[in-house]
């Protein structure tokens, strides 16, 4: 808990990361100043893109003591405003799951190689980023903790699969090797409460460690202060749950 007599400093900047297939992509990086060691976080951005909310959130995690990296998963689409780039990706049916796993894996490896990171790196994603973060936590064994905020289509039916999304992330759950925090709004349409129930059943089936927090009066994206679905009370509590969970699993020995 920050008190007003403490020092707080941060470095935050755009960096270049060799991502999937060693493609050079950009990423936003923020870290607390000092030798640490600090835990790390990779942020997996949402459908609206590698946007201001995710750059702000990267800095938020750094302020809470995490060396944080948010790769631009849409880098290969070209450059423009985050909205324009995301709209192009949306029209083309998203980016391929395998590519996202490669980019996030590379981000994780970069953090683990840093001398001031304590060897523990978690994932945080919202919306389609929550889905991607779940997928990555199943397929990347070094992930130490997963925060899935309202990730839709984690439990996909066969009809919902596409060439870019050929396997439902939940189908990889047997390989999940880290604890999971799920944050969901009970008025969300994707995932619906029934779909969250399905995901919970999968986690129970495989004996995975998880905690879900499901909020009444909140729908999709209720952390987004810049969108009409923002819900102040639920968001404040949700963020508290996020940092309690990550502090427990990533900080200390």
């Amino acid at each position: 808990m920050y008190t007003t007599d403490q020092y707080e400093g941060m470095l935050a900047e755009t960096v270049i990361l060799p991502g999937n297939h060693a493609d050079l992509i950009n990423a936003y990086f923020a870290r607390p100043l000092g030798a640490g060691p600090f835990p790390g976080m990779v942020l997996v951005h949402h459908m609206p893109g590698w946007d201001e909310w995710y750059r702000e959130t990267t800095r938020k995690f750094a302020a809470y003591g995490y060396v944080t990296l948010c790769p631009n998963l849409y880098f290969r689409e070209g450059h423009g405003t985050p909205e324009d780039v995301a709209a192009q990706v949306r029209g083309e049916g998203g980016v391929a799951d395998d590519q996202v796993v490669g980019d996030v894996s590379a981000a994780l490896e970069m953090l683990l190689a840093l001398p001031y990171v304590n060897g523990k790196v978690g994932l945080f994603g919202t919306c389609s980023g929550g889905r991607h973060a779940y997928l990555c936590a199943c397929r990347i064994p070094q992930v130490a903790a997963l925060v899935d905020c309202w990730g839709g289509r984690v439990t996909q039916t066969s009809e919902e699969l596409t060439p870019k999304q050929p396997v439902a992330p939940a189908d990889y759950s047997a390989d999940l090797s880290c604890p999971v925090l799920g944050i969901f709004g009970n008025e969300d349409k994707s995932p619906t409460p029934e779909q969250v129930n399905q995901l919970e059943q999968v986690l129970k089936q495989y004996g995975k460690e998880y905690e879900f927090h499901r909020y009444d009066g909140a729908g999709h994206g209720f952390f987004y202060h810049n969108r009409p679905n923002y819900r102040q009370e639920q968001a404040v509590d949700g963020w508290s749950k996020v940092f309690s969970f990550l502090d427990k699993h990533l900080k200390g020995s």
Binding site: M47, P48, E77, G78, H79, G80, T81, E83, D84, V85, A86, A87, Q88, V89, R90, G91, E92, G93, G94, C127, S128, G152, R153, E160, T162, Q165, K189, S190, G219, H220, G221, R227, P228, N229
Partner: protein, 91 residues
Amino acid sequence: MCTMIAQQIKIRGDGKAGSSWFKVDTASVSYDHPFEMPLEYALNLDFTSKSGGPGGRVAVELDASSARALVEAIQGVMAQAEKGGFLINSD
């Protein structure tokens, strides 16, 4: 993407963004999170050129009832144009 409800078609036309016209060859239609409209989901129309990059875009976001009304209006106008003989040799 959140809903994955999106289709992309080839078109031939010109679009205007700001004060400039440019060729458009692709229309993307999606029902997903809008960027600007204060809705959770909207019908999103993007008119782009494959060679124009992400910035070359004419974007419109509509609520569901407006989207349906637009479809009806387009069909009504095209039916009237066809009846009036305006579509012969028009492509």
